[in-house]
Symmetry: C2
Subunit: 262 residues, 2 copies
Amino acid sequence: MGQFAEHTGLSAGANGVYAGEIHPGWDVLGNANGGYLMSMLGRAALLESGRPDIISLSAHFLAPGRPGPLTATTTSLKQGKRFATTRVDLTGPDRLILSGTVITGDLRDGEGPTLVNQNAPDMPAPLDCPRTVADPDGMFPPPFMLKVEQRLHPDDAAGATGEPRVRGWFRLLDDEPLDTTAAVLASDFLPPTVFNTDLPVGWVPTVQMTVHFRKRPTTEWLLVDSVTHFVQNGTFEIDADLYDDSGELVAQSRQLLLIARA
Amino acid sequence: MGQFAEHTGLSAGANGVYAGEIHPGWDVLGNANGGYLMSMLGRAALLESGRPDIISLSAHFLAPGRPGPLTATTTSLKQGKRFATTRVDLTGPDRLILSGTVITGDLRDGEGPTLVNQNAPDMPAPLDCPRTVADPDGMFPPPFMLKVEQRLHPDDAAGATGEPRVRGWFRLLDDEPLDTTAAVLASDFLPPTVFNTDLPVGWVPTVQMTVHFRKRPTTEWLLVDSVTHFVQNGTFEIDADLYDDSGELVAQSRQLLLIARA
């Protein structure tokens, strides 16, 4: 078993309750990465529904997740022919951390007409992009960068564009294969878009995040293209589109975050 | 009280349960418009949390809503200083219709830096755009077009662009003022983007929808700009950005839908 599968693993208890653990090293300043927590939320829904793929995952961030034991409490809302819908609450030792609803199904079942009017961004090949390494001081880039391999577009790695957009390649370590739970992690792993602009760099907590899957990820790398259009009124959005090696869309995500105060 | 407020009104019962009604005329072929149902879901969270504005509303569509009595069952997940998070289940006479989670707060409280890199689309003034009228046969445009005033961009009204984009103005009837619950309705009121393309026209049910508010709507009209980038694998997304009269962003929504089969 690969490290990601191990560190997001859940063991089934009675009545739709699963036990897991927030492993150390996935945090920044003690708070677990949101994508890592959402991966566990998605895994609980997959286990409970018996379906192979996440179709849509929607999560509300209620409290920081600290390393330690975690309980995933699932409630089946619907077991349809094509999709299952499962509510999942992730609870730490003392409080609710993440509450979400997950649609699961089989992404190989999709059929219908195709119409695409957006292309994957131009990117150098993964190994021609610089790998993000963690800052030993532990703040930024955060230590959880050691848990995956992330390679940013050279312009974004240099913070040279001034635009609220970050593009990067993502893969798991040690040839661990990607699945939809890992792609959820990928959707929330890039440095925040606004760090490429003149806006203050600081804590930008996610309030709500939704990921919709459009194709099962099967290639080694995922290309993540994240962009922000509106910083206003104390909040901003990050929209991330995930493509596979062949340039086909795998998922679209959107999160609402609080902007750092000056 | 205006018709919209009346038709989405809820009366409080005990233990966070509210009673409402799916009013006739908001449906197409007997199924209530999704935005109309989400407006009631948002209203339940506003009432239960005691906050004035929806900040973020996320909903999963589980079964069609038919005219008749409706129960909104709320559960408070968090009562924070800035935001409250409330889970809401809308149940009809025999089953769960819509399950959602709503963040509420006061949109006047937002502050922070501003960075905008997307403009409202060029649109003729509302009264220079043709008003959408319902087809007397009852299918498309659906009869619920009588419940609001919608005026499409002339090119979109003519179905002339061939592009999966629809732009329109929205206001309530009889000078009823807009609020965030009405803006939720506006976010899901335009004809589906794909109807402007060569793809088959048919039933395109929403699976999941999320609306994030970025400013309190206070003007008479809302401008809704909806676009689709990817139809693939049996599903498509509609992203809608809502602007007020002054061109400032009010909300962003995204929904995942099933594409009609040929």
